[in-house]
C-alpha cells in the first residue's frame, strides 16, 4: 500500500531531529554560502531552496575510507617470521539522505550498478547502500546548468528514491515509494497526506513542464562514432579545461577510485579514495606510460564513460543525471550538456560549443 504523510514546514526541524535519533541524517546544509550534503548536527542549517554544490554520494561512497587496517608483528616463536594482523570490520550506521534531488538519487542508482552488477560486488559500498534510505525533494525550479530531462531523468522522477517529498504552501507531501520509505514515514510528527496528493501531483507536473521548457525532452540520439573518435573535436572541447577534479568530485554519478596502502613503521591502512579521470595520474601506468597523457583524451574518457561506455555495459543507460553540478562548479564553465549534444552530430571538427 502506498503511504503518504504531510510534513508541516514548522515541524521540519522536529522531524529531522526525530530521524536523527534513529539514523545518521545527511542533508543539504548551509556552510557560509555553500550548500553541502553533510551529516546533520544540532546547529546545522538545512537549505532545501537550491541544489547543493556537492552530491550526497559521499553518504554511501565516502571521499576516503579505510578498507582494512593492518599490523606487522614478529612471531614470538620464530622471530624470522613476520605475522600480519588484519582488521576488515565494516561498521555501517543506518543512514537517511534527506532532501536529495531526483538527479542525486539517479546518481546513486548509476553507482549501484557499478558496485553490484559486476563479478566482484563491493561489500563496503553495498553494506552502506543497504542501510540507506533516500528522501528526495521534487525540484521546483531548474537551476543554471540543469538538463535532467534531456538525459531521461526529471525534477519529479521517483524511480530511484524511497520517499518523494513535494513542497506545497506550508509543508511537504511525503510519499513512500518503497518499504524502506514506508518505515520512514511511520512518525507521529507527520499528518495524513491523502488530502494533499492531488495538489502535489499538480506541483510535480508543473515542475516537469518547466524543466522540459528549459532543457528539452529526452534526447535518445546515439553518439556519432566519427565525432566521438575525432581528436580535433576533443582538443577543441578540452581547450580551456584546467584538468582539475571539481567536475568528477561534485558529480553524483562518478565513482572511480584510487587505492593506497599507507603505512607508518609496523602498521597501516588500505585507503580507498575518490579519483578523477581528469587527473594526469589516473591512467599513469607503472611503466611510466600514460595512455591518456593529454587532457583532450581525459575529457573524452569522462564524457565517453557517461554517454557511451556505461551504456554499453548496462542496457544503454546514460551515466549522467543532468544535475548541472559539474557545469556550475567548473572554474571555466565546461558544459557537459553542450559537449554531449555536439557529440551526437556528425561533424568531425565541431568545437563542442554553441
Amino acid at each position: 500500500m502506498k503511504k503518504a504523510g504531510y510534513l508541516k514546514k514548522q515541524k521540519e526541524k522536529e522531524f529531522i531531529a526525530a530521524l536523527g535519533a534513529k539514523a545518521r541524517v545527511y542533508a543539504p546544509c548551509l556552510e557560509d554560502e555553500a550548500v553541502l550534503f553533510k551529516p546533520v548536527e544540532p546547529d546545522s542549517v538545512i537549505c532545501l531552496s537550491r541544489p547543493a554544490v556537492s552530491s550526497p554520494k559521499s553518504a554511501i561512497y565516502p571521499q576516503s575510507e579505510t578498507l582494512f587496517s593492518f599490523r606487522f608483528k614478529k612471531d614470538s616463536e620464530d622471530p624470522r617470521r613476520t605475522l600480519v594482523e588484519l582488521d576488515d570490520t565494516i561498521a555501517v550506521p543506518d543512514t537517511i539522505i534527506f532532501g536529495a534531488r531526483p538527479c542525486d538519487a539517479r546518481g546513486i542508482a548509476v553507482i549501484d550498478r557499478a558496485f553490484s552488477k559486476t563479478e566482484t560486488p563491493d561489500p563496503y559500498y553495498l553494506a552502506r547502500r543497504a542501510k540507506t534510505t533516500i528522501v528526495t525533494l521534487t525540484c521546483p525550479e531548474p537551476s543554471t546548468g540543469c538538463f535532467c530531462t534531456r538525459v531521461g531523468c526529471g525534477p519529479a522522477e521517483t524511480s530511484d528514491s524511497d520517499v518523494m517529498m513535494t513542497e506545497l504552501e506550508d509543508g511537504y507531501l511525503m510519499e513512500a515509494l518503497t518499504s524502506k520509505g514506508e518505515a520512514l514515514l511511520e512518525s507521529p510528527i507527520l499528518e495524513d497526506g491523502t488530502a494533499y496528493e492531488a495538489q502535489a501531483k499538480e506541483a510535480q507536473k508543473a515542475a516537469h513542464e518547466r524543466m522540459i521548457k528549459e532543457a528539452g525532452e529526452a534526447d535518445t540520439t546515439p553518439v556519432d562514432p566519427e565525432t566521438f573518435h575525432s581528436q580535433v573535436f576533443w582538443e577543441k572541447a578540452a581547450e580551456r579545461c584546467l584538468g582539475c577534479g571539481a567536475c568528477t568530485y561534485l558529480c553524483p554519478t562518478c565513482y572511480c577510485f584510487n587505492i593506497t596502502d599507507e603505512q607508518v613503521v609496523d602498521k597501516g591502512e588500505r585507503i580507498r579514495s575518490w579519483d578523477a579521470c581528469m587527473f594526469h595520474h589516473f591512467t599513469l601506468e607503472a611503466s611510466g606510460h600514460n595512455p591518456r597523457a593529454q587532457k583532450a583524451l581525459r575529457l573524452k574518457n569522462r564524457i565517453g564513460h557517461k554517454f557511451v561506455y556505461y551504456g554499453e555495459k548496462y542496457d544503454g543507460i546514460i551515466a549522467c543525471s543532468g544535475c548541472g553540478r559539474c557545469i556550475r562548479g567548473c572554474p571555466v564553465s565546461m558544459e557537459i550538456s553542450t559537449i554531449a549534444a555536439a557529440l551526437k552530430k556528425n561533424s568531425g571538427t565541431v568545437s563542442g560549443e554553441q
Binding site: L36, R50, S54, S143, G145, A246, N258, P331, E335
Partner: protein
C-alpha cells in the same frame, strides 16, 4: 574595458601569432569563458566585461606557440612573474592589456540575488544589472567585486604591448591593500586555527585551486598526488587538506601575483587566496619584494644574499 578597441587590437595582432586567448560568452552572461582564437571570423564573438574573471595568462606555459593574451592588471603581473621564472618567453607573448575598474565575483552576485538562476546580465559603468525570474537587481560593482579587486593596486596592466582602454588610477595604497590580512592576524592563534580548520573541512581535494593557479608549476609532480613517493595520505581528513593548502601557499611565497584564481576556482568557496596574500605580505616586509611588478626584479626565492637585512638569523655576527 573597451571591447571595440580590443577587437581592433586582436584583428591587428592575430596574423602575427598562432592563437589569441580572450573571452567569449559562456553558460550565461555572468559566466564568460576563456576562448582561443585562431581565425578573424571568431573576433566578433569576443566578450569583455567585468565578469571576465579568468586569468588567461595561466594558459601561457602550456602553449608551445606564439600567443597573444588578454590580461587585466592583476593578470599582467602573472605574465611578468612567469617570464622572470623562465616559464614563458616574453618575446613569444603579445600582451593585450585591459585596464580594469574591478571585476565581478559570481559568488557575491548569486548571494545578492538569492541564488536565482540568471536570465540576463549587463554592465553599466559601476553597476551590474541582473535579470532573474524574480525581477531585476541593480548591484553596485563595488559590492559584488571579488576581494582581490577591493585591494587592487594595479588596475592598469604593468606590462602590455597594446592597451584596450584608458589607464585606470589605483584607488588603494599599499597599507590598505593588506588591511584585511592584518585584521585577521590580530585574532588569537586558536581562533585562526579554528577558522581555517572549518574552512578546510569543506575541501574535496579536487585541486581546482592548484590547477587554476598560473604559478603552480609542479604540474604532474604535485606532492599532493604523487604515488611514488607517496608523500601525502589520500585520506580526506582536515589535517591532510590543511597540509595540501599550506604547501600550496608556501610554494607561492614571493611568487603569487594575487590574481585570486585559486579562490574563484574553489567550488566550495574556501577563501584560499587569503593564505597566499598573508605570505605575500610577509615577503614584502622581509624582502621588500612584490611579485610580478617589474621585469627587472629578481624574485627573492631565486637569489640569495649573504646577509639578510631583516632576518636576524641571517646576519653575520
Amino acid at each position: 574595458m573597451n571591447l571595440e578597441k580590443l577587437k581592433e587590437i586582436v584583428r591587428t595582432v592575430l596574423p602575427s601569432v598562432d592563437v589569441v586567448i580572450g573571452y567569449k560568452k559562456g553558460l550565461d552572461a555572468l559566466h564568460p569563458v576563456p576562448c582561443f582564437l585562431t581565425s578573424p571570423d571568431e573576433i566578433d564573438a569576443l566578450v569583455l566585461n567585468p565578469a571576465c574573471m579568468h586569468n588567461l595568462a595561466a594558459y601561457l606555459p602550456s602553449l608551445k606557440n606564439r600567443a597573444a593574451v588578454v590580461v587585466k592588471g592583476c593578470d599582467s603581473r602573472t605574465v611578468v612573474q612567469l617570464a622572470q621564472e623562465g616559464l614563458i618567453k616574453r618575446e613569444n607573448v603579445v600582451v593585450i592589456g585591459v585596464p580594469c575598474q574591478g571585476a565581478v565575483s559570481v559568488r557575491k552576485v548569486l548571494s545578492a540575488i538569492d541564488h536565482q538562476p540568471v536570465i540576463e546580465a549587463s554592465f553599466e559603468n559601476d553597476t551590474v544589472v541582473i535579470k532573474t525570474k524574480k525581477g531585476e537587481a541593480r548591484l553596485a560593482l563595488r559590492d559584488v567585486a571579488p576581494d582581490k579587486c577591493l585591494a587592487c593596486r594595479y588596475p592598469t596592466p604593468v606590462v602590455a604591448d597594446h592597451l584596450a582602454g584608458e589607464e585606470v588610477e589605483p584607488k588603494i595604497d599599499e597599507k590598505t591593500a593588506y588591511q584585511e590580512i592584518r585584521e585577521f592576524d590580530a585574532r588569537s592563534l586558536e581562533e585562526r586555527r579554528a577558522y581555517w580548520m572549518a574552512e578546510f573541512d569543506r575541501c574535496i581535494r579536487c585541486y581546482a585551486c592548484r590547477n587554476a593557479c598560473p604559478l603552480c608549476v609542479c604540474r604532474e609532480s604535485c606532492i599532493a598526488e604523487t604515488r611514488d613517493p607517496h608523500w601525502m595520505s589520500q585520506k580526506a581528513t582536515q589535517n591532510e587538506k590543511m597540509m595540501f593548502h599550506m604547501i600550496h601557499a608556501i610554494h607561492l611565497a614571493g611568487r603569487c601575483t594575487e590574481c585570486g584564481e585559486c579562490e574563484r576556482a574553489c567550488p566550495m568557496g574556501i577563501p584560499v587566496a587569503r593564505l597566499k596574500k598573508k605570505i605575500n605580505m610577509e615577503m614584502k616586509e622581509l624582502f621588500g619584494y612584490e611579485p610580478g611588478i617589474s621585469m627587472d626584479d629578481k624574485p627573492p626565492m631565486y637569489t640569495f644574499k649573504v646577509e639578510e637585512e631583516k632576518i636576524e638569523e641571517h646576519k653575520i655576527r
